[in-house]
Structure formats: C-alpha cells, structure tokens
Subunit: 203 residues, 2 copies
C-alpha cells in the first residue's frame, strides 16, 4: 500500500471517471456534439484537467474504441462452443450485426469514424481489432478444411465477408437505409443478412 501505488490507482480511477462521462455524453449526443467542456462539467473538473489524463480528444475516444472491441470480443467468446465452423461463421455474422444494431454509436466509433484509428497509429493499440479479425480468419480457415470456399485466399475472403456485414451496418448507422422508403431498417438488415448467408452456404 505504498503512496505511489495509491497515486497510480487514483490516476486510473480518474481516467475511468473521464471515460465514463465521455461515453455517456457521446452515446447520447454523438461524437461531434461531445465537447471537452461538456465532459469537464459532468465530472466537475476544469477543462484543463482532462489534458493531464489524456493527450487530446481523440485519445479519449480511442480508449472508448478499445472498450468497444473488448465488448464485441467478449460477446463472441460463446461462439467457440459451436463446433460446425460454417454454423459458427453464420452465428458470428448475426452476432456482429446484432452488436452494430444495439450499439450504434459504439459501432460507428469503432468502424466508421475517422479520428481514433488514425490518431493511434501505433500497432499495439489496434490489438483488439486484430483479435476480432483473427477470430474470423480462423473460422473461415476451418470452413475451408471442410470443403467450403475452395481455392480462396483467407485474407481476401475474410475482407469480403467482413465488408458485406460492415456495409449493411454502415448504411444503417449513417441513415442510408432511408433510401428504401417502403422497407423498415430492421427488415432490410435481417433479410440482407439472410440473403448473404444464402450466398455463403452455396460456396
């Protein structure tokens, strides 16, 4: 219980406090309407204080970015119980979309926004993203062992699969589903997903 360790703990607690406040405002008002002064006011500190714990605004959202991946990854853990790789792949796809649907702003932050990934160019920070991608690579590899996706490169295949899912989620997140006047967003997502699964099953 040294005093230095307490200081360190307090530093982390302060980071958490800032992060929680930022997340709350961000999930409610969106990225661009979340100002540092908003966050500072919420935690009852001055704006300058935040800069003692985070490099800049991007740094804060980069941290939330990380949390998003941790959440997504933890949601995916149970999938490892699904023994058939093809079924696992499809369950993974549905889960990915479910995540995007129920965590719109977080998904946006993770996969659509410009800032965070550019800010932390350092590779280690993108670690959680890598792990998620490896999850997909692995299941696709196993699918191939069972005769699916013959002769395809796993890298390009995973990119294509990820893109198809991301495309639907991104159009949803950025309100482009409105292009379909007579269809509900949920129906577009559900059926789009099922049609894509149909394609995958045939390959």
């Amino acid at each position: 219980m040294t005093i230095a360790s307490r200081k360190q703990r307090e530093k982390l607690e302060m980071r958490r406090t800032i992060l929680d406040a930022a997340k709350e405002i961000f999930l409610e008002k969106g990225f661009h309407s979340t100002s540092l002064r908003n966050i500072a006011e919420k935690i009852e500190y001055s704006p300058g204080t935040i800069y003692l714990y985070f490099k800049d605004k991007d740094d804060i959202f980069h941290a939330l970015h990380e949390e998003g991946f941790t959440r997504l990854l933890s949601m995916m853990q149970p999938l490892q119980l699904v023994s058939d790789p093809m079924e696992r792949l499809l369950a993974m796809g549905r889960l990915y979309m479910e995540f995007a649907y129920h965590n719109k702003d977080l998904y946006d932050l993770m996969f659509i926004m410009e800032a965070p990934i550019n800010a932390g160019v350092d590779r280690e920070k993108w670690e959680m993203g890598d792990r998620t991608l490896n999850f997909l690579r692995q299941v696709l590899g196993e699918c191939q062992e069972r005769g699916h996706f013959k002769g395809m490169n796993v890298e390009y295949l995973s990119f294509m699969v990820w893109s198809a899912l991301h495309g639907m989620c991104a159009l949803y997140c950025r309100e482009r589903c409105q292009a379909y006047e007579h269809e509900q967003e949920t129906e577009l997502l559900r059926n789009g997903m099922e049609y894509f699964i149909k394609l995958l099953r045939q390959a």
Copy 2:
C-alpha cells in the same frame, strides 16, 4: 434579357462559384477542415455573403452531394449497352468501386458522412440517389428473369449487393484496410470484389 433574368443568372453563378471553391478546398483538406471562412477567402467575399446563397454549411455540402450522384450516374450510362444483365451487374459493381476508389472524398460525402442526408430530409433532394438505386433494382430484376437469384425479393437483394460493395469502399475510405497489415488496399479491394462476384455467379 430582362434585368430580373440577369439577376437570377447571377444568383446561380454565385452559387456555382461558392460550390466550386467549397469543392476544391473540401477535396483537398476534407470536410472538417473546410471552414466557411476558408471558402469566403477563396472567392474573395465576406463570410456573411455565403449565407445569402446557402442556408448553412450542410446546405453547401448537400449540393456537392448531388453533384457526386450526377457524376456516378453519368458514369453508369454506358452500362446500358451491356445486354447480358449478369454481366451488366458485375460491370456495375466494378464501376461503383472504381468510382469510390478514385473519388474517395466524394464517395465519403455521398455514402458515409452524417450531415447532408439528414439535413435535406425533403425527398426530392435524394432523387439522384434514388435513380442510382433504381438502376441496380432494374438489373437485378433482369437477372432474375434469366434465372438468377431465384425466389429472392429484389429490395432485399439489392440492399445486400449494395451493402457488400459499400462495405469494401467504406472500409477503404475510413482507413480500416490497415487492419490487414500485409495486404495492399488495392489488392484487398480487387480480390474482395472478385470473390463477391464469384458468390453472385453461383446464385
């Protein structure tokens, strides 16, 4: 040659001047680094003047948004010469991706950014987008007449196809291809596209 008509023409010319300046700065520096004062300075007018021709910043980018669709649509016209609908569909996909690749910021503005589409909720403004989508609907319909995509609803099918392409383009535009450390963006896009086409051919 009434004076009123000249006034009207001048109004349009001024809009064009502003739009051209905005586009140039925007394509060079991106959306968030394009300020109204930048635009005003470029055209050698005061900031306030811009508000006599556009409602607000979003309104300007909404206009550019329109131009993007006009450009994309005009690029697609020659496709009508491709008689086989399946080949036309695939050519259309490649062209769509080509457009995104060579007009990154414009694509971003059209399909990823938040502002413009929300700003102009009025339906007529999204007309060009509708026309592009109808192009896709039509070719998919023709594909079905020739036995492809049996029993599928064209609305959901088109959403799925659009999403798959958009997903790749969006990951590209927002630098998420960096997740693939050892692959080049162009190769990811090219092969991702070819793999998706492979799936479509089988359906």
